[in-house]
């Protein structure tokens, strides 16, 4: 039996949930970033899978989306990590529990 689109989507959903798990439950800012990156990777997997299983796969739309998404998430990671360092310099912690300046 060859894998169907469904299976890919379920794997992608699992990857997304794991990313969400990391982003939600870990205290360290870097973990949150890792989680977000995992979620983005899951989205990319969706793009590629949908492109591959689409009726007209000769148009590289999904691939293009994935490429741009990778480029943008690289930018996001760079800025995010820079912010982690900046926050660490300022507060001497990267524990997001202690970063609650925006508390209402």
């Amino acid at each position: 039996m060859t894998p169907t689109l469904q299976i890919f989507l379920i794997v992608s959903a699992a990857l997304f949930s794991i990313g969400l798990l990391a982003a939600l439950s870990r205290r360290h800012a870097i973990f949150i970033l890792i989680g977000i990156e995992l979620m983005l990777a899951a989205a990319n997997l969706n793009f590629i899978a949908f492109w591959r299983f689409a009726p007209q796969p000769h148009q590289p739309t999904g691939v293009m989306f994935a490429i741009f998404s990778i480029a943008i998430s690289a930018a996001e990671a760079a800025v995010g990590l820079a912010m982690v360092i900046a926050v660490y310099r300022h507060y001497h912690t990267t524990n997001v529990d202690q970063l609650n300046q925006l508390k209402g």
Binding site: L20, A23, L24, S25, I32, V96, D97, L99, N100, Q101, L102, K103, G104
Partner: protein
């Protein structure tokens, strides 16, 4: 078809770009600013010369290039550039005179802290004016026209820290704006009638037969409305009041405004849309042209009279400009379009020369502008004196050697053949006499006699200022070669006829008439002011001989015929009274009305207050308490913990998924 027409847009664009580049420079980069401005102007001059060449080859040469600016609905708004003898000659004059003024400014403004800004505006001014000349669309012309207005505003108010400069800039802007209103309305009307604003468009333009045919009777009104714009720009009566006040700007700016750019725009505009004025002419006379003639006559005489009694060296020149522009308008009005434009071109040279010369005098006398405090300057400033005298004789219309003499003669000739009335002809005689009179008076005061207070430490200006003077003086003389009746090259170039030489036409009755008029003016002035220059050392010449003879008349003229005061009493007072009236209406009538309603409201309010106190207030209180509690609850959600926010987002997403499933 010549290649240059495709690059005609470069002529205004180069100075404008140079202006932008200069604006981006720091204040200390004086050399670069001046170099950029002069380079831009030189490029414009070179391009103008290139553009001039093809117009020489064919008589009545005209090349247009139109393009679509934007399209709305079915209508396309088209702009374009045109090259014909009128534009080519103007281009050459503006860029050459402008270049001289630019170079002169380097010396004149050397000490000024606004040097860089000044050159940026100067380039901008020149570029805008060049744009007016090459525009082939009334709209494009109007755009550049307004840019010229803006540039003049910026330059007149260059020394913004002086209240008088700021006021003069404002006055110039608002006064010309009144004229521009007319221009704008005329333009809209024209578009409504003819459906195009292009001047020339392969027979479909608004100045060509097909376009003109659609105008019918409205052409008169359109022409008059457009003329109103020219009245404002060219300082014609009744909108001339801004021009003398514009002397508040630096002297090179006055030279640029008076000679090459601003005021020339009005005369140029009338010449450009001349077919609108002359539409349906019987014997060369239409009602709109008649208006032009009489406005011109009034302006020319009135300004010449005022100039007699002025003491400020630049103000005399300013009123002389107003007067000369009136003369040009008269010439255009009586059908002597070529004569008017010729005078405009010649005037560009000698008036720039006079203004720069006066700038040199002011520079040499350490910013003194009162001619009664000068005197005897011909010994200290020989170059300035000689060039100034050339300019003065050209302006006075001394025949034979000076360009102004030939063009004035030509204008008088044209006015003399105006069918409806001979009055303008004789009034213009008076104008010529007056011009010679006040210029001689000025020269006597400034250059002859004993040196008075301000002239003690006078010195000649540096070469960077005198060389432009010499160039312009040569221009004022050499231009007469192409102006003589024996070989009226410029006249025929403008009208598109082929020129031929005939020495017999050189001597005409008109030559002697104008010689007599000019001699009369100069002679009377010399006789009246023979003693004015030789007063004792330190005492300024306080009593003018004319004032001695006719005190009341002199005061009337010295105060500019009280026209500013008249406007203050009428137009401005009217707005003031209208404002007071509306203020009173507001305060007492409308306010009373409002108060009355207010009283009714008050009674009603008293009633409802009772209801409020007892019934509603308690309810509102309870609601507030509830809202506050809710707010506390909500603010608890704002923990500042990003993970909680993210979790809420995830739950929201889940909720949406469930909602979708439930609906599907």
């Amino acid at each position: 078809m010549s290649l240059i027409i495709h690059y005609l847009w470069l002529i205004p664009a180069v100075p404008l770009v140079a202006s932008l580049a200069i604006l981006s420079l720091a204040n200390a980069w004086r050399r670069s600013a001046a170099a950029l401005a002069v380079a831009g102007q030189t490029a414009a001059l070179a391009l103008s010369a290139v553009a001039f060449l093809p117009t020489l080859q064919t008589h009545g040469f005209r090349a247009v290039q139109n393009f679509t600016w934007f399209t709305f609905g079915d209508n396309a708004l088209r702009l374009g550039f045109v090259l014909d003898p009128l534009a080519a000659a103007m281009l050459l004059m503006i860029s050459l005179v402008g270049l001289c003024i630019f170079v002169f400014s380097i010396g004149y403004m050397a000490e000024d802290k606004n040097f860089v800004r000044f050159f940026a505006y100067l380039s901008f001014f020149s570029g805008a004016m060049l744009g007016v000349v090459v525009a082939n669309s009334l709209l494009l012309l109007f755009i550049f026209w307004e840019l010229v207005g803006l540039a003049s505003y910026l330059l007149i108010g260059l020394w913004i820290e002086r209240p008088s400069a700021a006021a003069a800039a404002k006055k110039a802007f608002i006064t010309t704006r009144i004229g521009d209103m007319g221009f704008f309305v005329g333009m809209l009307w024209l578009y409504n009638r003819s459906g195009t604003l292009l001047f020339y468009d392969d027979g479909k333009g608004c100045l060509e037969s097909a376009g003109l045919a659609m105008l019918g009777a409205s052409a008169t009104f359109i022409a008059l409305l457009i003329f109103f714009g020219a009245v404002g720009k060219s300082g014609q009566f009744p909108l001339h009041v801004w021009l003398p006040d514009a002397m508040e700007g630096p002297t090179p700016v006055s030279a640029l405004i008076h000679a090459a750019t601003m005021v020339a725009a009005g005369v140029f505009l009338v010449a450009r849309v001349y077919p609108l004025f002359s539409l349906g002419a019987i014997n060369g006379v239409t009602s709109s042209l008649t208006v032009v003639v009489w406005i011109g006559v009034t302006t020319a005489l009135m300004a010449a009279l005022i100039a007699i009694a002025q003491a400020d060296i630049k103000r005399i020149l300013a009123y002389s400009t107003v007067s000369q522009l009136g003369l040009m308008m008269v010439s255009l009005g009586v059908g002597g379009m070529a004569a008017g434009i010729m005078h405009l071109l010649a005037h560009g040279f000698f008036k720039a020369l006079l203004f720069l010369g006066s700038g040199s005098v002011i520079h040499g006398c350490h910013s003194e502008q009162d001619i009664r405090k000068m005197g005897g300057l011909r010994r200290f400033m020989p170059v300035t004196f000689v060039t100034y005298a050339i300019g003065m004789m050209a302006l006075s219309g001394v025949p034979f050697f000076f360009s102004g003499g030939w063009t004035k003669e030509e204008i008088l000739h044209a006015v003399g053949h105006w069918p409806p009335s001979r009055a303008p002809y004789y009034l213009m005689f008076a104008g010529v006499v007056l011009t010679a009179f006040y210029m001689t008076r000025q020269i006597i005061y400034v250059f002859f006699g004993n040196s008075r207070t301000a002239a003690k430490q006078a010195h000649e200006s540096p070469p960077v200022m005198t060389i432009p003077l010499i160039v312009l003086a040569l221009g004022a003389i050499l231009l007469s070669i192409v102006l003589t009746p024996a070989w009226p090259w410029l006249h025929d170039y403008l009208t598109g006829e082929s020129v031929h030489f005939e020495i017999g036409r050189l001597i005409q009755p008109m030559l002697f008439v104008s010689l007599a008029l000019v001699s009369a003016g100069i002679g009377i002035a010399v006789w009246m002011y023979r003693k004015a220059g030789v007063q004792d050392g330190d005492r300024p010449a306080d009593i003018d001989p004319l004032e001695h003879a006719q005190p009341a008349l002199f005061r009337f003229l010295a105060n500019k015929m009280w026209i500013d005061e008249l406007y203050a009493r009428t137009v401005i007072a009217f707005s003031w009274i209208a404002a007071l009236l509306s203020d009173w209406m507001d305060r007492y009538f409308w306010d009373g009305l409002v108060r009355g309603f207010g009283a009714i409201g008050q009674v009603f309010a008293m009633f409802t207050a009772g209801v409020d106190e007892r019934g509603i207030n308690t309810g509102v209180d309870e609601t507030t308490v509830g809202a506050r509690g809710l707010g506390r609850l909500m603010s608890a959600a704002h923990s500042g913990q990003i993970q909680i926010y993210l979790g809420i987002v995830a739950i929201g997403m889940l909720a949406l998924l469930l909602l979708y499933a439930w609906l599907a």
